[in-house]
């Protein structure tokens, strides 16, 4: 299952996304692809959403692949230690 994240994943957007990720969590036992090629910003709230999806996938025997990370967002993943938590393509 693939989810496309577009624009800024800041705190207000994260609240909205939290409501919308349920279909992903329902498929947590499979491979979940998070397409970030059109995501321009991520805040801590956005990182927490990624973490929620990862935990659900891990518990259900699935895994999460992130693709299309911009350099700026990749840097956020690196400085927080999140880079090692996901398979990043």
């Amino acid at each position: 299952m693939t989810a496309r994240l577009v624009g800024r994943l800041d705190t207000p957007a994260a609240a909205e996304v939290t409501q919308e990720i349920q279909p992903l969590l329902d498929h947590a036992g499979s491979t979940i692809v998070l397409d970030c090629s059109e995501m321009s910003y991520i805040s801590s709230s956005g990182l927490r959403i990624f973490l929620t999806i990862r935990k659900a996938a891990s518990a259900a025997g699935g895994h999460v692949v992130i693709q299309g990370l911009s350099n700026e967002i990749r840097q956020v993943f690196m400085m927080t230690g999140f880079l090692q938590l996901f398979e990043i393509k």
Binding site: S44, T80, Q84
Partner: protein, 356 residues
């Protein structure tokens, strides 16, 4: 209902009793293996399998045809319900036997330790057979206990030796017995290796607990024990304090490969890395996160920054950082970009301008 014309009336009566009592044996097959599994789980004894079966009518009829006169009634036949417990290690056969002894009343007169029946100069079938009774059921049953290698040998021997119904040549029997001797040695070696590994783990845990880290080689077991001391927590807490961030716990086992690639040989070397590069690792975090509002970090950030600081200070350059990121995250071109990003910042890190 099948008629067995070859059976005499006495054997036919036993067979009739078997038909009537079969539900009892089927209930035994549900209840008894489950109780064995539960006790083994509780005792932490890992076994390869617990198999069970109720003897089929045809098989019982064959037995009665051969030696029906030996049995007064169905109760005299002890293998109508049978269970086989296969262990990985030869030492565990005795542990399993002890569990069976605790759960059931063992009929010692009719139980056989075939491991002790063989002469010193002969090799062959090794297995422990107990005849047991459970107070819940009126019939005795057989429990066979053996290792997975003994099981393999017994199956191969049975399959090729008896199935054909033809007497096999002596040379074949000799070869099978040679294999039995070899497998006995292999079983012993497996047990010995397990004992040595457990001894090593205990020794490592003791050295780690006593702080003699420089004496402990860096490997999977020792590093796992080391992590129980939570050696990266102080650094992670310091890094988190930059933005009052929460720390998300993640496994730090993947860093073992990086530490080894950096040439660290003992746990003392890892402790030395934390002690010597803790401040530079913190400086990297301050520089990167200080002007952000990121208030969540993974517990991997501490060891990650330690490795980065070490590589930067030792002149590991782009190739070194790329190696580290490839090892932790899997190879990707994005790791090259991150290596460039770190190198571009390095000039601004104050620790890069101080001598060791």
């Amino acid at each position: 209902m099948a008629e067995h014309s070859r059976l005499d009336p006495h054997a036919e009566a036993i067979l009739e009793e078997y038909r009537a009592q079969r539900p009892v044996f089927e209930k035994m097959q549900v209840t008894i293996p489950a109780r064995v599994r539960a006790l083994l789980d509780e005792a932490g004894v890992v076994v390869a399998s617990v198999e069970s079966r109720v003897k089929e009518e045809e098989s019982l009829a064959g037995k009665l045809e051969l030696k029906g006169a030996k049995y007064a009634s169905l109760s005299d036949i002890t293998d109508i319900f049978g269970m086989r417990i296969i262990t990985f290690y030869t030492d565990d056969v005795d542990k399993v036997a002890s569990a069976v002894d605790r759960l059931f009343e063992v009929d010692w007169e009719n139980s056989v330790d075939k491991r002790k029946l063989l002469e010193v100069d002969s090799f062959g079938y090794l297995s422990l057979h107990y005849i047991c009774r459970d107070s819940e059921f009126p019939y005795r049953f057989e429990v066979q206990m053996r290792t997975i290698l003994q099981h393999a040998w017994a199956n191969m021997n049975h399959d090729t030796g008896y199935k054909s119904g033809v007497e096999v040549p002596v040379e074949y029997k000799r070869n099978m017995n040679r294999l039995a001797g070899m497998l006995e040695l292999v079983d012993e070696q497996f047990s010995r290796i397990r004992t040595e590994i457990n001894d090593y783990r205990r020794q490592v845990q003791s050295l780690v607990a006593s702080g003699r880290l420089e004496e402990v080689p860096l490997d999977g077991d020792s590093y796992r024990s080391f992590l129980q001391l939570r050696p990266f927590d102080p650094l992670n807490r310091r890094i988190a304090s930059v933005n009052q961030a929460e720390i998300q716990e993640v496994t730090l086992m993947p860093f073992l490969a990086v530490f080894k690639a950096l040439g660290l040989k003992t746990l003392g070397d890892v402790a030395g890395l934390i002690s010597k590069y803790g401040e530079p690792a913190y400086q990297i975090a301050c520089y990167q996160m200080g002007l952000t509002d990121l208030d969540i970090v993974a517990s991997s950030v501490g060891p990650q920054n330690l490795c980065l600081a070490y590589l930067l200070k030792k002149g590991g350059g782009r190739a070194g950082i790329r190696m580290m990121l490839d090892t932790l995250n899997g190879p990707s071109e994005g790791n090259d970009t991150m290596a460039e990003y770190i190198l571009a910042q390095a000039e601004d890190f104050s620790f890069m301008h101080t001598k060791d």
